[in-house]
Symmetry: C2
Subunit: 267 residues, 2 copies
Amino acid sequence: MSSSPAATRRVTRRVSVKLVRLTVLGCCGAWPTAGAAGSGYLVEHDGFRLLVDVGYAVVPRLQEYVAVDELDAVLISHGHPDHCVDLNPLLRGRMLRDDPPDPLPVFAPAGELTAVLALDRPGMLDAGYGLTDIEDGDRFEVGPFAVHARSLPHSRTNLGLRITAGGRSLVYTGDSGASPVTPELARDADLLLAEASFVDELPWDSGRHLSSAEQRGRVAADADVRYLVLTHLLPGTDPAASRAAARRHFTGKLAAATTGLVIDFDR
Amino acid sequence: MSSSPAATRRVTRRVSVKLVRLTVLGCCGAWPTAGAAGSGYLVEHDGFRLLVDVGYAVVPRLQEYVAVDELDAVLISHGHPDHCVDLNPLLRGRMLRDDPPDPLPVFAPAGELTAVLALDRPGMLDAGYGLTDIEDGDRFEVGPFAVHARSLPHSRTNLGLRITAGGRSLVYTGDSGASPVTPELARDADLLLAEASFVDELPWDSGRHLSSAEQRGRVAADADVRYLVLTHLLPGTDPAASRAAARRHFTGKLAAATTGLVIDFDR
């Protein structure tokens, strides 16, 4: 894996081999509300900075923690713009300078980034990234992280991601309707970061590709995860109601994501 | 011009017929730095809210002032993503609700929004906007504003915009290299909001499509504008140096744009 020329600048803030740290950069479902951002999760271990999803307004948030040229890799669940559009300014920020860092490794389902990569003129940002297509069942390494990807049902190809390092596992659903694969992927995970667009009732046309907090509580209980973090709440959804709905089924640690939430997993 | 169903909610904050108000929502050139946003300028008069350019992370900023369904129109200088990409979440925020407002009038050079409108699946947001192509020389009305558009040189079609209401004129350059049309468009304006990517020296390959603060100071002096606001400074550019460069030529009121800057033009 290539390393950034800015590596020396990381020392004071780097997350050690003893920790896996999750930082929520944005967690709005569908579109960002005032002062907020779309899906973006910084996952760090042993000095490596992995960004999982890069939705609306995530890049200005990211830089409150990490410079754009200090990021080591990006992993994208699916190609809806609230999950990937800020890949464009991220690549601009790395490329439009005199000393661009090495190309950014980007992992995404095949074809899902076509629209976001077409925002600038063809070729302009090509030297700034190396794109690896990932698909259902893939197991691969990103720096110190082992990743297992499983397809979960959505209106376009969406990969659930099990990310493991230092003996700790974080499972992220992307956006997805109910599937027996979700508890399978999340089995015994330390943390399940689960899209919960709705509280409990789902609109008739949404159940195949999105989930409720109540459903995620049931999945977390079934999979015996230690910590459930509800995310991607649609604007206007009450986080307390979402937590209560998940709590009907899940007795473990529980939170609704907020911008700037940091969760450390000790070894 | 259609009005939003949310009109009744505006009363407490609406800008009266006595004022034209400019609010800078974002002003980063090329890509947004920590906590910042791309180009986005809210221009208000007589209760009408016009958004000029909708760059990266502008929609979360906009909502610190105006709900997405309270916006009355959008005017876009050109199709680079740092000037238009947040049209996508703006339309999502208006459409993905039970009671969507009337379609948003959007004015842009022909074809410049093709990439941003392709971020979601074809047709998904079509009912949310009405697109009017504008071109060099056009004069048109947007609510209480009279707009005059002139083509200014850039790497893609870019329209400079003279926006007049209540006897006050604001001229916006979009991104543009040197042109005799700029001082012509800006003649005697109350405010010239001018892209100034660089301080004074321009990289050899940038002079045809971007400008320096020094050049903008000369234009402001030539056009006899009252107030010059430098904007779109590239990340890392020193605003004090930019102001000093413009000051070599221009003796009027002068500022470098900052997020949240509000300028009121009294009648």
